[in-house]
Amino acid sequence: MQRKKGILLLAAPCAIVLLVLFIIPMVYVLVSTLREDGLKYFVKFLTDTFYLKILWDTILISVEATAICLLVGYPVAYFLARTKSKIKNLLLIATVFPFLVSAVVRAYGWMVVLGQNGLLNQFLQAVGLIDKPLEIMYTYKAVLIGVVHLLLPYMILSITSVIQSIDENIEYAANSLGASPVQTFLKVTLPLSTPGIVSGCILVFTLSMTSYVTPKLLGGVKFRMMSTMVNQEVNVNFNWGFASAISYILLFCILVFQIVATMATSGTLKRLGGAKNA
């Protein structure tokens, strides 16, 4: 009894704050949108190929960003986890420190690099590879570069932490039993690092789907994602009903993804057994 009271008393402040400031508003705005406009704006979104294309682009760019982060991040994580050199700490600082720099600043950096008179175009023209400046800003490519830059550190850290906890002696054992380095990697290291890959991919995909500052600055009005569409409807078209529908469609996609990803991967992780707590 005493115990129950203690739990309730300690959980109450946080639970009340989250209920009042988070859960109830989230439900209230959805209900009031449905009451005012019914499913009108949800139908508008889901039947117009213009809007469906934006949802598709958002998913596509997130899938690509996740794939690139994984392909680049894995070797980096492997290096970070296994190197004994002093450079490791320096690289760890270089990985974590962009985390602490605002997305606004990082997107601005890419604007200076990728712009019409940006460093990349200056360089390519000076070398003589192109005659006319490339149009990269405000395209799919610019946003993809920005999102990968934003999220690569998350992937690196997720995978590094798991590889670090794999006992190196297992790799030596495989080696001494005659496995080549490639075989050892494919049959031992890679499977054991699955938990890091899974959590890194879920994280990067989710954060990419919901990123706002990066597509706003690097995509502008020419390349839109779901989040910048919400902004467009709120601040330019003043159609709050539609903005609400887009917000909740995005939320729905994220929740479905989270649930499916958790269910699909829990099976795989269970089969790996001991590696789960790695």
Binding site: G6, L8, L10, A11, P13, C14, A15, V17, L18, L21, F22, P25, M26, Y28, V29, P75, V76, F79, T83, K84, N89, L91, L92, I93, A94, T95, V96, F97, P98, F99, L100, V101, S102, V104, V105, R106, Y108, G109, W110, M111, V112, V113, L119, H149, I156, T160, S161, P195, T210, Y212, L217, S227, V230, N231, A243, S244, L250, L251, I254, Q258
Partner: protein, 268 residues
Amino acid sequence: MRKKEKGRVSPLPVVVTVLAYFFILLPLVVVILASFSPTPVLKFPPEEISFKWYANIFSTSGKFVSGFVNSIVIALVATVIDIFLGVTACLSVSKYNFKLKNVLVNFFTSPMFIPSITFAFVLLQLFSGIKGMPAWSKILIGHIVIILPYIVRNTLAILSSFDWTLEDAAASLGAGPVTTFFKVTLPVIKPGVMAGALLAFLYSFDEAVVSSFLTNAKFSTLPVRILNYMEFSFDPTIAAISTILILGSLALMLIMERVVGLDMFLKT
């Protein structure tokens, strides 16, 4: 032989690592270079060094200084409130095992699973029905919710290795629950709480989505002021202020490495 093999990494990861860090650091280095550019468009290599964009930070209509102060105050207040909310919440789910434990943990970290843009819109819609509410209170409410999971996760992580018999020992020696918490539990879990608080503070300080939806002309945070400034002009004043933020983050990073270590970022 084996000793020698240890710690050697094959060339492929090394090459990818070099390229990856070039990519990660490139835009940050470029911003720093641009801030010293004498011309509005960065020319490479730069012909001379100029500090005029730094002076511009204080003289333009961008109101960066007040934005900076606002960001610090919002982040500080939200973090302090969330330390209280987060630590009490974590204590409630850490000591005992009970049926709804996992549900509660997921509930306490739930703001993490929601797109910021959705929550930003919800608050905008909600507050539009309440007249006379100052912008700072709207932004503060938003930040209290979205940074909470950072403190909860880090505090839970450190509590999971806490030895609860220490509390029983204190209690059997006559200490009340409150004394026990402040004299026994808190000193042990402090590093985890501080790490979470630091991340939460930085997240709030850098946050631009919720803030930009709830701001007004009178009260705004630094990231929003930067975003708004960029809509009208693209001169290196932004580079100058970004450089200060980058160097600030770097300094903080080095302090963190010395004081708490970077292992907190390497947790699954």
